[in-house]
Amino acid sequence: MSDFEEELIASLPEFLAHALELEVESRERYRDMAACMELHHNPEAAELFNEMARYSELHVREVLLRAEGVELPAMAPWGFKWTCGESPEVRQAEAAHYLMSRRQALELALCHETRARDFYLGVAMRSESAEVRALAQEMAGEEQVHVDLLTRWIAGADHGVPQEDLDPPNVVA
């Protein structure tokens, strides 16, 4: 699948609509993954994804606060100007696995947070609106905090003992 041609985000309302979509998607996907991990008896990964969902929820609230009094454009689900065809913070969801270790979960979260930071950085570098560039730079900084935090956690996380699959797929390995 080829990446989409980049289109520039031109206005503050358009940028806020993108930020809101990105953070809502992120929150929903992290919640889904946390619930999955709980169901599959992987409490460590569930706890981490729940924590990431809480961070995303904080960002959702922050974006909503900034959007107060701003008329956000109604956007079709396919109308967002992502550079990778979908919301950047959920792109690697297929890397999740019910046996994943805490370290693997951290690495997946790091991948998502890095993509979110890069999206905001890209807008901060390329938008023609100074207002958009400034806010995007600020949000990239907030994502960078998550990137740094996850990087520290990964550095302190061991690879753990591979979990035993008590009900393995009935397929040849």
Binding site: A67, A74, A76, W78, F80, W82, E94, P169, V172
Partner: protein
Amino acid sequence: MSVPALKSTDYKSPVTPIWCPGCGHFAVLSAVTKALAYLGLPREQVALVSGIGCSSRLPAYVESYGFHGVHGRALAVAAGLKAAREDLTVLVAGGDGDGFSIGGNHLLHACRRNMDLTYIVMDNEVYGMTKGQASPTTAPEWRRSKLTPHGPGVRRFQPAAIALAAGASFIARGFSGDPSLLSRLLVQAIRHRGFSFLHVLSPCLTFRPDEKEWKQKVHPFADSPTSNAVEAARLIQADDGMSLGLIYAEDLPVWQPASECSASLADFEAEFRL
């Protein structure tokens, strides 16, 4: 700030999906809720009908009317519902086993009738709920199932070609790894008046970890969509099965039975009089 009447999250039910982490069906669920929100469809005007299988759990996760039906019979149930309630937007969901094997005959006649239904088939080329057996769309050489260690050895079912030949008036292919396109195709499919067949490549990473590669294999259809069935047949036959987008849409007569009786009880009695 203007807020749409319902957001996509308003169409998500409080029931937690029990799919495996990384399952493609999560993206299909998300695309369904986004399409419904985009179309502004009231939740009470939508019914989601399914058969049996992992993908058929979808109605439980969508905040609309739903019916988790019998294996392979989702289209029969949906057709009955649509016949009785033309006003409802009826979506049908299922997997490749449910739709192409157990429900294969229902698929043919649903296409032929061309009732105004949207059929979403989440194809992962495996029976996942029963732990990984070959399905009608599994490649003949797939040897990872312990039940078919030498591979199923049977040519794959060709969903788009069969749907076209049977009379479906809308045929498209989406991919769970491209949710933007998937939402768009869903909106087009729901808006299309007639039987819309949406074939969705939706990897099962537990039993088919090789399907992670689909993200690199899919590509847009080389040709524009057509409203000509002959041209659509050529496109489908030339396709490698990994092309994404709308293939075919044509306005064809939609079968919808009259909702009111056209004869009185006396008329019926007269027909049975000896």
